[in-house]
Amino acid sequence: MRTDTTMRETTLSELESLATAEHEATTLLMDEDEFRAFYDRTARALWVYLSRITGDRQLADDLLQETYYRFYRAGTAHESEKHRRNSLYCIATNVARDAGRRARHRYTLPLPETDDPHEPHANDRTGAQVEGRTDLARAMAQLDPRQREMLWLAYAQGASHVEIAETLGMKAASIKTLLFRARRTMARLLRNS
């Protein structure tokens, strides 16, 4: 009697685990609501990242779409929101690098869209802000792509060294030194401009 019960329990638990595995396999692709919620949380920041590492707004539009398409099709299970976000940025970085290699894309100077410094109605404060952002864009243009990616992830996204390493496909131990060098170069460029 006891043996029968044990056998039945084992069989049921096996069936349950099989059913869970099957469910997980079929639900790896996000459904519409999940995707849209994730997109709403991440798209703007990702677009800004893409536009800053490529220096091209139009290209950033295309790359944004490509990134979400690849992310969706990859259908990878993520253990947390942070992990999912890192995975998205990793795809975005690779997509941007591919585009750069394909088109031998040159970094252009992304001027602020709404705040044109030459516009006659722009007040002093706006002018100063735009100038600061143009200096930053000019300095970014002189860095190599990996330094741009690293600085942006660290100081715009607030990513940790481990997260930067995961996103850029590098060793976590080397991030500290590389980030230090990128930052020093960037600070020098900002001061010179």
């Binding site: 995707f35 798209a43 703007r44 398409y69 602020p112 709404t114 200096d135 500290k176 930052r183 900002l190």
Partner: protein, 163 residues
Amino acid sequence: MTRVECTRESEIFEAVAAGRAPNDELRAHATGCAICRDLAEVASAIHRDFHAAMREAHVPSSGVAWWRIQRRAQEKATRVASRTVTFVQLATLAGTACLVLAILGGMSLMTQDWKLWIDRVYFSILDFLAAPAIAQWATPMFFGIAMCVMLAPFAIYYAVTEE
């Protein structure tokens, strides 16, 4: 060896990220520490640009993004299916051509007069079908084979485009 980090980096970055000015003591430290000074300059420039760019960013709505992804996925599936159909069609054509060539080659080897050989095959099939044991199954078998030959292309088509 060049120093690459300072123990007060995180305090500087937290102040920048929170958008508040560092206290006097921290500011005094940043003035004397090259690492923290660089960090403060770079992090605040990027932080300001990030927030301004976030306000200006125009991205498609999530509904549009979802629709584009679905449409692209469907287009890709269609492309893959049509490629497979083309491959099967080419393979079938190539196989048929090989078969015809092999039969013609075999016939010319067996006999110089291939018409005679066809007659021989034809009559041997008739003899086979006329045998008492086979005769009763000959008509259904003929129709069965004919049906298979006619339906085979459709079956292959649906099998391949199902995905």
